[in-house]
Symmetry: C2
């Protein structure tokens, strides 16, 4: 894992220096696919409806569950499809000219291969897979939106002159922003989470603060996640942890998110009582057709 750690640190450093280290991310994914196929075994671990979830397992541990039909286990297959996806990035149209499901499969494989390696061989670094997702998504979107500035913080105007040194800001995973001729900044706020759990409230709260400080529609939030899957080791099954009532409550009474996008969208959130209130989709839909309308 030392090798993987080192490579990801290099990718993160380059990303923080404003680059989009796509080639390094591809190499990391290939390294992960090689490692789990050689050193771990895969087996079914339960279904959600017709969706079949598997895990990788080795002596040292077990991975989170992955959606069998969306994951690309072959290194050469992944390599080819990743290259095609990158070639299909079209900044003029602000999208990726692949099919939506192809985008989901490639990005799901990249983020999950990394996360599953950490699950098995580096359980102490619980937060790193989340950082990987952030770097992956930020780099891909950075290629789609090259004229936007990528940041993590939105400074709030300082009303109180006496408060120097106490500047406030809303901080999230990814922000793409631009400055209008009049100096006003606007942009897209993108919290990127592996799953939401009790963190679901945060993007709504941040959007509420931004609405209050800047007015509506200067900054809009889209929440991007992998899935809401949870491994149940004891019962050899998987659970999908959904809180439709909470999402409806926050969207109606706290602030409006522009959408929630999953690589593996929970079936429950695609039902009418949720989609009537808030846009739910796949990351593939976001990056192939919806993004141009949001930017």
């Amino acid at each position: 894992m030392l090798e993987l750690d080192k490579r990801f640190k290099a990718a993160k450093k380059s990303y923080d220096a404003d680059a989009n280290p796509l080639t390094v991310l591809m190499e990391i994914t290939k390294h992960c696919l090689r490692k789990i196929s050689k050193e771990a075994k895969s087996r079914p671990h339960g279904n959600i409806g017709t969706k079949e979830y598997w895990v990788y397992e080795a002596k040292k541990g077990i991975s989170r569950p992955y959606l069998k039909s969306l994951f690309i286990p072959s290194e050469t297959d992944f390599n080819e499809r990743w290259n095609l996806l990158i070639a299909n990035i079209n900044p003029d149209e602000r999208n990726i000219a692949s099919t939506s499901s192809e985008v989901d499969a490639v990005l799901y494989t990249s983020s999950m291969a990394f996360a599953m390696c950490y699950d098995i061989w580096k359980t102490s670094s619980r937060k790193t897979p989340g950082t990987y997702l952030e770097v992956l998504l930020g780099s891909i979107m950075g290629k789609i939106l090259p004229d936007y500035k990528r940041t993590k913080h939105i400074p709030l105007p300082n009303e109180d002159e006496t408060e120097e040194g106490n500047e406030e800001s809303v901080s999230t995973d990814i922000v793409f922003e631009k400055t209008r001729a009049n100096g006003e900044i606007f942009g897209l706020v993108i919290p990127a989470k592996i799953t939401t759990r009790e963190r679901i409230v945060q993007p709504f709260a941040h959007q509420r603060i931004l609405d209050g400080v800047f007015g509506r529609n200067r900054f809009n939030s889209i929440l991007v996640c992998i899935s809401e899957m949870q491994l149940d080791k004891k019962k050899n099954k998987v659970n999908e942890i959904c809180v439709p009532g909470t999402i409806r409550l926050f969207q109606k009474h706290l602030a409006e998110l522009t959408g929630i996008y999953y690589l593996d969208p929970p079936t429950r959130y695609l039902q009418e009582d949720v989609t009537r209130v808030i846009t739910i989709g796949s990351v593939g839909e976001l990056l192939t057709t919806r993004l141009p309308k949001l930017i």
Copy 2:
């Protein structure tokens, strides 16, 4: 631990049936104090300023850090001071007629003795110490406010007649509410947390929803916590995890909490840049002098 588990389940059942099971809680605390003094050893684990934190340790595990000066290790000493505190509860004045530091010591000992037993002997039940704090605080406050109804949910008025079965509510740990002559409900919303961490946003978000739906000052929130301490096993020290910038941001731009009260208040939060924006105090201060003004 089977015995402790059984006793707490009984307390919880009685609490959920609207009783204030104070005697059972006292017995549970005495059981915990007996168990840790017999089966575990205490030792220093680091300081924060002049505050000295210790841990209990046994073969099976190590406890969270406790503030030596606030914890009552002796069972008979605790028994006496608990009884005095309960006798000092004065519903007419809506307070406890003890000193503030005495209230902190007794409630800190009760909640921490339970939590430390679970840390050492039942690590699988991570959420139970939080539930214990809720039952302890809800029962004590239930004795102070006997004319209030204790609940956990505030239903929101259903604007949309077509949405039957989709009733919305704000759910938190403890609510004390009353109904005015005109039928309006008002009350005190009390999230009770061992520490806040990334959950700090939740009480602010809930208050914002309540302000939006009911208008200001129908429901007011006070956040009650044990501390913000964290054990650093590897370095044999303790950390105090504080986010003063985040608290200022939420209080100014999301919603106003009526106060945050700790059994062991973090020194950082008692500094002027925080207290200028939000009321911070000890639970003892809340229950001896401040509560009558909030209700």
